[in-house]
């Protein structure tokens, strides 16, 4: 159902509930939502005042109704929602709509907080479904700061009810919410999810919100609504600064912006509604000019518009990358997270994520990868899979508007992928091949693109949300193919108005000096209208080609980006060459390794390892150089001549050395070096993970395969990992006295599963004595103690 927004009338939303409750003597410490059940006549009376003042839509008294906030009140969220809708309906005549109000859960979602997306979803679903059942006309999601929570709430309303849904978020004057979400991200997500209206409420007064509303109106095609506070509150008295007349006068200028609905938030009362009603008399809505359609994707805090060349990082694709493949198969998501952060640092605008390894449960692994990656970077993601189940699972928990890579012209793909893309409001790569394969000519590929646009349109997907991939074929196999690809890019761009993408480096397979061919092809493609390239963002030559192209095509205004990227090049080169000449000459010796670790220099450690590998095998380098050098650092730490920061820097430098070896082993198909699998986690209820992370880093350096389960980990999840991989040592961390109970519970669960499995524990509030009391086998006062414990367990 869509909301029947009256095109001839600006609709009036109600005002503050909290303010009115205070006026009726409800003090702090009372849960206002309980009043819908215990004093429904009071709630109805307040609603009635708004209705009589002229409100067209009233919000139910359910802002804080969810299972968390209702805990301890003696009522369920369902009861409170039911009573609230009934109390609202009792105040309304036929012409006033009742909106079931969904406020934030009060808990922060992962990765910021501990609430899972699914739990947030079920919170909202419960209240929205009850709201509809009890007779609400629409749903309003309001005062949101986290885009992820918005997504959970909108999906809950859309999937569990047939109510129209309007959504407003709350911003600071900098145009960002507390969690860093901006107007662009909110708009990209909500247009994709087909919200009925989009708005801003709370936090600020009408004057402060105005510039944000201007931006929102220019950005979105959706109807806009605004519900400001009555100015800012006085901290001593709690009184708001703007009275009803001033408020109404300030709201008048919103009419010219073309907003569809206005109302008030904190500090406003029926008097404010009455004044706005008078102000609106004789006014009709101003028609807004629709913004130009644009191709935009986003995470919760960062958006990317395809109006400049977009670099899509390709390195999280295991095809042809043995080290990445091994990492994904071993559940070593830390390696993938590192690739994500590195590519972001190298300047990738979007990251492609692919878990396509034969035999893998992609529908389980792909969303898990997305979760991990979005916990360490806010670069928007491209979900790369052909498996509809995996795509749906990944899109669902993706925090923002993603790109699906890809849909193609085959009947099977169109039927399976397009509805998912539409449902989750994603963009999609349109691959120009169909049931008869890749059309050899540009015209053939154009025809496929045209078909995908048409079918997507029927499915409710706009052309601006399709990015055509005209397919790069290997030029050494078919020399004329490059020309066809380039022509196809130009055709779909000019005739269909689509944005375009290419996986560039396919072009040079089998040729010497591939980088040269890659960047030349990239430049040619850009000149033919290519908008984005799936490539290695660490490839300076290709990045340079993009910068130079943007400069020459006059897209890089005043050559700012180009100059910024290269003005220091000359100085850097000079510096590097002088640094090179003074490099220590003990490279490739034990002292060289030890020195580079002690100084915490990763690149130098890599150089040492590479030099050693020329004359030693991998195991020798580990056992006779890296580990003894680390031991020496560890002893210095224990002796107090070297401190934790230096030890950690050494550990990180050593990781770089180990990485060289792991890559070589994975590439040569030799067995990986692991002394044993260890599960580490911060226990349920605790979110301190720095100590656990330190232990992980040190243990990895000592050759253990550490499976890091994260923080706030349920005992059942740990038990599952122990069982699945037959793990013989679990490391648990807890930093609060309040979470020691949870630690004991986890130990009991692990021991019940496998009495042979040993548990080591650490954390500031633990003592040796207490550790044993709760059943732990080892108490580890610091990271080196955990290495000793592991060496005992695994007999190393």
């Amino acid at each position: 159902m869509t909301l029947a927004i009256n095109k001839n009338k600006i609709m009036l939303l109600d005002g503050g509930m909290g303010t009115m409750l205070q006026k009726h003597g409800v003090g702090p410490g009372t849960v206002p939502e309980v009043l819908s059940i215990e004093q429904p006549e009071l709630i109805t009376a307040i609603h009635r005042e708004y209705v009589e003042a002229g409100a067209d839509i009233i919000y139910t008294n359910t802002f804080g109704v969810n299972k968390f906030k209702m805990e301890g009140t003696g009522y369920t969220a369902g009861q409170a929602a039911d009573a609230a809708v009934k109390a609202a309906k009792a105040a309304c005549g036929e012409n006033t709509l009742v909106a079931i109000d969904l406020g934030p859960t009060g808990k922060l979602l992962e990765p910021m907080g501990t609430l899972s997306f699914e739990d947030a979803y079920s919170c909202f679903a419960e209240v929205a479904a009850q709201g509809e059942k009890s007779g609400a006309d629409l749903a309003v999601i309001e005062t949101m700061t986290d885009l992820y929570e918005v997504k959970a709430a909108v999906l809950a309303v859309k999937e569990k009810t047939s109510l129209p849904v309007i959504v407003s978020m709350t911003f600071g004057e900098d145009g960002r919410t507390f969690t860093g979400c901006g107007i662009e991200e909110m708009t990209a997500l909500l247009e994709g999810l087909h919200a009925d209206a989009i708005g801003i409420n709370c936090s600020l007064g009408p004057d402060e919100i105005f510039p944000l509303a201007e931006k929102l109106c220019a950005e979105t095609v959706l109807p806009v609504f605004i519900k400001p506070n009555a100015g800012l509150p006085d901290p001593q008295t709690g009184e708001y600064a703007i009275n009803a007349e001033e408020f109404s006068a300030a709201m008048e200028k919103y009419i010219d912006l073309g907003v569809s609905m206005i109302g008030g938030c904190c500090g406003t009362s029926p008097e404010y509604t009455k004044n706005m009603k008078a102000m609106l008399a004789g006014k009709s809505p101003v028609k807004r000019t629709a913004p130009e359609p644009k191709t935009i994707v986003c995470s919760a805090t960062r958006s990317v518009t395809f109006d400049r060349t977009v670099i899509i990082g390709e390195r999280m694709n295991p095809t042809g990358k043995p080290r990445l493949k091994e990492a994904i198969l071993n559940g070593d998501y830390g390696y993938v997270m590192k690739l994500a952060v590195l590519q972001a640092e190298q300047g990738a605008d979007i990251l492609d994520v692919n878990a396509g390894i034969p035999g893998i449960d992609e529908a389980k692994v792909l969303p898990e990868l997305i979760r991990k990656i979005q916990s360490v970077t806010d670069v928007p993601l491209q979900i790369d899979s052909g498996n509809p189940e995996a795509i749906e699972a990944a899109l669902r928990i993706y925090n923002g508007k993603a790109i699906v890579n890809s849909v193609n012209g085959t009947e099977k793909s169109l039927a399976a992928i397009l509805p998912i893309v539409r449902h989750y409001g994603a963009a999609a790569v349109a691959l120009t091949l169909d049931d008869s394969g890749i059309p050899p000519t540009a015209e053939g590929r154009f025809t496929v693109a045209e078909k995908i646009v048409e079918r997507a349109g029927k499915a409710g997907i706009k052309p601006c949300d399709l990015i055509a991939d005209c397919l790069t074929l290997t030029v050494s196999a078919e020399q004329k193919a490059a020309g066809e690809t380039l022509r196809a890019v130009r055709l779909v761009k000019e005739k269909l108005g689509l944005r375009t993408v290419l996986g560039v480096s396919n072009i040079s397979f089998g040729l010497p000096n591939r980088p040269l061919v890659n960047r030349t092809f990239l430049t040619m493609a850009l000149a033919n209208g290519l908008d984005s390239a799936i490539m290695d963002p660490g490839d300076e030559g290709m990045k340079g080609a993009v910068l130079a192209y943007e400069l020459l095509a006059a897209k890089d205004k005043n050559a700012e980006d180009y100059i910024k990227a290269y003005q220091d090049t000359a100085a850097e080169e000079k510096k590097e060459s002088s640094a090179g000449s003074s490099a220590a000459d003990d490279t490739g010796t034990f002292e060289g390794v030890f020195g580079s670790l002690k100084r915490g220099l990763g690149a130098e450690t890599e150089a040492n390892v590479n030099a050693l590998l020329e004359t030693n095998d991998e195991i020798t380098v580990i056992n006779e150089y890296l580990v003894p050098a680390l031991d020496r650092i560890g002893k210095a730490f224990e002796a107090g001549t070297l401190y934790l920061p230096q030890m950690m820097q050494a550990a990180v430098a050593a990781q770089a050395g180990f990485e060289v070896i792991k890559k070589r082993l994975a590439g040569s198909g030799k067995e990986r070096v692991s002394k044993g699998d260890i599960v580490v986690a911060t226990v349920k209820g605790d979110i301190h993970d720095i100590g656990k992370n330190i232990v992980r880093t040190i243990m990895e350096n000592y050759g253990y395969n550490v499976i890091d389960m994260g923080r706030d980990v349920d005992p059942a999840v740990i038990v599952e990992a122990v069982r699945e991989r037959n793990v013989k040592l679990v490391g648990l961390s807890a930093l609060m006295t309040t979470t020691l109970g949870s630690m004991k519970e986890t130990i009991d669960a692990v021991k019940a599963t496998d009495p042979e499995c040993r548990v080591m524990v650490g954390g500031a509030v633990l003592t040796e004595e207490y550790a044993h009391e709760i059943g732990a086998d080892y108490y580890c006062a610091d990271a080196m103690r955990s290495v000793e414990a592991a060496n005992q367990v695994f007999g190393a």
Binding site: G106, K107, L108, M112, C202, K598, L644, M648, G685, D689
Partner: protein, 211 residues
Amino acid sequence: MIIELPAEIDRDAWLGRLGARDYEGLGDRLAKAEAELLRASGPRGTFTFSDIYEMPGTAIKKHLAGCRKMILMGVTLGPGVDAAIRSAAAVDMAYSLFLDSGASILIEQAADIFTAKLRDELPADMPYMTGRYSPGYGDLPLEMQDGLAARIDAQRRIGLTISETHLMIPRKSITAIIGVSDRPVKGYLAVCSECTLRDKCELRKTGRTCG
């Protein structure tokens, strides 16, 4: 309201937190971490005046002795700092440790700046205030966090939430209770003997105190 951060993170406190005694090999990394923390922070604070209500434990009663009102306050560096620490942990755990420890010092500094400003807000008839006292400290249970955050409307005002185990998210945040009086008051710092951590405290094991 937005808190103006100091230009620098207190280096001595930072080194102490890291358990290091000198800057050897750390200077540049700390400077980089400091710049990133100042950039990633969205420091905000809020407070409200409240009547004194019943709270468990003896320490808070001593802290508020002679006070007529209290200020409930909350400050946070915001989720950007948590994100920076998380992101760094994926590539460089040492750097993540620098960010984490630096942020712990920075939030203390931000809380001090915010608290100092509160003096200007005191009513004319109650111009004196105590220092800060936080839930979880001494014998004031951590559970008190929930009610305190609700009373200052922490999520709506500054984006601060409390987990089900009463921990603050964003991580680098401080809530506190300050007594307000018509005569000079000193407040009270819990002594080890009444602290719930008395048997487990790392500092106490080494003969130091947190006060």
